[in-house]
């Protein structure tokens, strides 16, 4: 600064000062250029010092803030230990007791960046040696591919990973991946389903809960009980083998909540390699398949007749001769050729009697009842494989007749089981579910039947087991010493339907099924077993009807699951029990029978 008379603004402030008013006090003032410069320098120093002071003060305050007050720590609370859930993305599927049905394991997958592979031939040769299931040529082709990323093999075993790592090939890398494992194998394959190579659910609950499993990673608890599932599957399998059947299905349902405790469809598949088996194995007969159930539908027909009020237990119906309608004749498998009461019709599974009972209700009444029991629309169970029932349309007189004994209407086993549960449990319909309901919570349901009708149906179903078509299978042996006959008190109905082949019913292709509940005095569980196309054996005297196939299987299942479920066996020889299940007006006829 050469001219000290001018300050930074260009005005001679000192000069103005001098001109305007003289200083009152006699202060010593250096009026030289040096004094100005000094003043200015001091001023600047002061400003700079203030700036620095401010800056350091801010830093200091911030330090105090961070260290003493402890605020403003690093975002996200700083590094913490990775406790909690494992990173494995897709959630587990467990049964009602927590047994694993599906889980995800971390595995390594091998990929290559062909641009970085130096010697493709050598690399391919070495890899083919370690991975014997891949051949040299395919590896070489993929290594020579004009891409930056090619999969070589997904989901290596730890040993393979180690071997490949030891080869030290450039351009070959591992990618951490997840692999879905089903520890129970085939056991609940149709319920759980399976996933594809990219861990997308492709069937069963894996598909319907794909989003839930992927996003939350939380386990999905099913209503299935692995133990019951195994017992049911084992016995159906044994029956299929014994009677050289082509397949089978079975369901065990909690009659009071609608929870499905076991759902079996045979033949089944290994969910790890679903593509290796014939397509037929992936078909879920228990939910996707719809069948003409035959006589088991008489449970619904009888409940409908009793519920309508037009038919009472003691009423008799003319079953003296087959019913002719158009070119069809409806006859009985064991013709009685007489008038029969409702219990007799149910016990003997009379088609003619069932038709007569349905006629009392009428077409509209029958249709409404079937709709109420969920027979006309698909079951609302959680898996995607749900069969659409085949229902008569238009619903004419002939349909009224055939539906009464379970023909001309095809429903899935899930639908039938849910309806039977509702009929025996006091008349409340619970939707079938594969997910465990919270304990102690009232299961949602709608009343479809009077408690009194339900009581009558229980007695009728017991009658079939003690004296009717399932008598052979469920016979209780009275103990020689005590005279007691212990039983889980099963009540049920057998059904043997001829399968349609093309447009005609076949005498040789049958569908034998049994639906039952136990303990019948206060039903807790409903069981359904269906055997597809059983053939008679020497042991069954050539019979392949439900009384010889499905009913004995159900008996064996119930005998094994009874203790697991904590069902108390009852002495059926005791007068109290017999009294409780006696049917009014039935005594006389029974004695004469």
């Amino acid at each position: 600064m050469t001219d000290a008379d001018f300050n930074l603004t260009g005005f001679d402030i000192a000069g103005i000062d001098r001109m305007q008013h003289a200083r009152p006090e006699g202060r010593v003032r250096l009026q030289s250029r040096a004094a100005h410069a000094l003043e200015q320098g001091r001023m600047r120093l002061l400003v700079t010092a203030a700036m620095f002071g401010l800056a350091f003060g801010t830093v200091g305050l911030r330090l105090v803030d961070v260290m003493v007050a402890g605020r403003g720590a690093e975002p996200g609370g700083g590094p913490v230990a990775a406790t909690g859930k494992p990173q494995a993305g897709r959630g587990d599927i467990v049964d009602r007791n927590g047994v694993l049905l599906a889980t995800s394991l971390a595995t390594a997958s091998l990929y290559a960046d062909p641009k970085l592979v130096i010697d493709a031939e050598e690399a391919a040769r070495k890899l083919a040696a370690v991975l014997p299931d891949l051949d040299y040529k395919t590896i070489l082709a993929s290594l020579r591919d004009d891409k930056r990323f090619v999969w070589i093999k997904r989901n290596l075993t730890p040993r393979q990973q180690f071997e490949i790592n030891r080869l030290g090939l450039p351009g070959v890398y591992f990618q951490k991946e997840e692999r879905r494992i089903y520890p129970q194998g085939n056991l609940a394959a149709h319920v759980v389903g399976f996933t594809g190579v990219d861990n997308n659910g492709l069937m069963g609950l894996e598909q319907s809960f794909d989003k839930h499993l992927k996003e939350t990673g939380e386990p999905l608890q099913l209503s299935i009980d692995v133990r019951l599932q195994h017992i049911l599957r084992k016995e159906i399998q044994a029956t299929i083998e014994e009677f050289r059947a082509i397949g089978g299905a079975g369901i065990i349902q909690d009659a009071k909540t609608g929870e499905v405790l076991a759902m079996v469809s045979l033949p089944d598949f290994d969910p790890h390699v679903p593509g290796d088996m014939p397509d037929d194995t992936r078909f879920n007969r228990a939910a996707l398949g719809v069948y003409e159930m035959g006589s088991t539908m008489k449970v619904l027909n009888t409940a409908m007749a009793l519920e309508s009020g037009h038919v009472r237990m003691q009423d008799s119906f003319d079953a003296t001769k087959p019913i002719r309608i158009g070119r069809f004749a409806i006859s009985d498998y064991h013709p009685e050729n007489r008038w029969m009461t409702v219990p007799e019709i149910f016990r003997e599974s009379s088609n003619i009697g069932s038709v007569r009972m349905a006629q009392q209700v009428g077409i509209q009444g029958q249709r409404d009842f079937m709709a109420k029991m969920g027979m006309l629309k698909p079951a609302s169970i959680e898996i995607p494989e749900i069969g659409w029932p085949m229902v008569p349309n238009p619903w004419k007189e002939i349909n009224l007749m055939t539906v009464s004994f379970g023909h001309g209407i095809s429903v899935s086993p899930v639908q039938l089981v849910s309806a039977v549960s509702a009929i025996v449990n006091g008349g409340v319909m619970h939707q079938a579910t594969l997910l465990k309901r919270p304990r102690g919570e009232e299961a949602p349901g709608t009343r479809v039947l009077n408690a009194q009708t339900s009581d009558q149906m229980r007695k009728l179903m017991r009658l079939v087991v003690t004296e009717g078509t399932a008598k052979q299978a469920f016979a209780e042996k009275a103990s020689a010493t005590t005279g007691e006959a212990l039983s889980y008190m099963v009540g049920g109905k057998t059904g043997t339907a001829e399968k349609t082949q093309g447009r005609v019913y076949s005498r040789n292709a049958r569908l034998s099924n049994f639906v039952g509940s136990f303990p019948i005095n206060d039903p807790r569980y409903t069981i359904f077993i269906m055997i597809d196309e059983p053939k008679g054996t020497k042991k069954s005297f050539g019979y392949a009807t439900a009384g010889w196939t499905a009913a004995p299987a159900a008996r064996r299942v119930i005998d094994q699951i009874g203790p697991l479920l904590g069902v108390k066996p009852v002495n059926v020889a005791s007068p109290d029990v017999q009294q409780a299940l006696a049917i009014d007006g039935m005594r006389g006829t029974l004695a004469s029978y």
Binding site: P79, A81, T103, P183, Q184, L187, K234, S487, Y488, P569
Partner: protein
């Protein structure tokens, strides 16, 4: 020409930087440890997942049934084997039952005999074998 206070300040600054370096190295060390522990936790969790899967696989009912059939004489419970407390004839006086059911504390009683009489032991090997399993355990 270094003043006393300057020396003090230099000392303080040296000390502070020393502490700072020490702290920063320790933080680095801890961070490394943390990430190694985190890796370990993930590895352990994966191992647990594998073990869980294996446990479920080994407890597969088909395998269990085969093992039980091969190595034990256990069978599914029969109807006659289930008895309610009312069905048991009252032979022992009430106090004797209580005494046997709840032995005095501290007195180790290996495999206490159930107060309920075994329901008609037709096959004596069964209960005997069971007792052996209990003793081995």
């Amino acid at each position: 020409m270094i003043g006393k206070s300057t020396i003090v300040w230099i000392c303080l600054a040296t000390m502070a930087s020393g502490i700072l370096y020490h702290t920063s190295y320790r933080v680095q060390e801890q961070a490394e440890r943390l990430s190694s522990i985190n890796r370990q936790i993930v590895a352990e969790q994966e191992a647990i997942q594998v073990l869980k899967a294996e446990w479920a696989y080994l407890n597969d009912p088909i395998r269990m049934e085969r093992l039980v059939a091969g190595h034990t004489v256990l069978q599914p419970v029969k109807l006659e084997q289930m008895v309610t407390l009312d069905a048991i004839p009252e032979k022992l006086p009430a106090d004797a039952l209580v005494a046997e059911a709840a032995p005095p504390a501290g007195k180790a009683t290996p495999a206490p005999k159930s107060p309920a009489p075994a329901p008609t032991p037709k096959t004596p090997e069964g209960p005997m074998l069971l007792a052996k399993y209990g003793a081995r355990r």
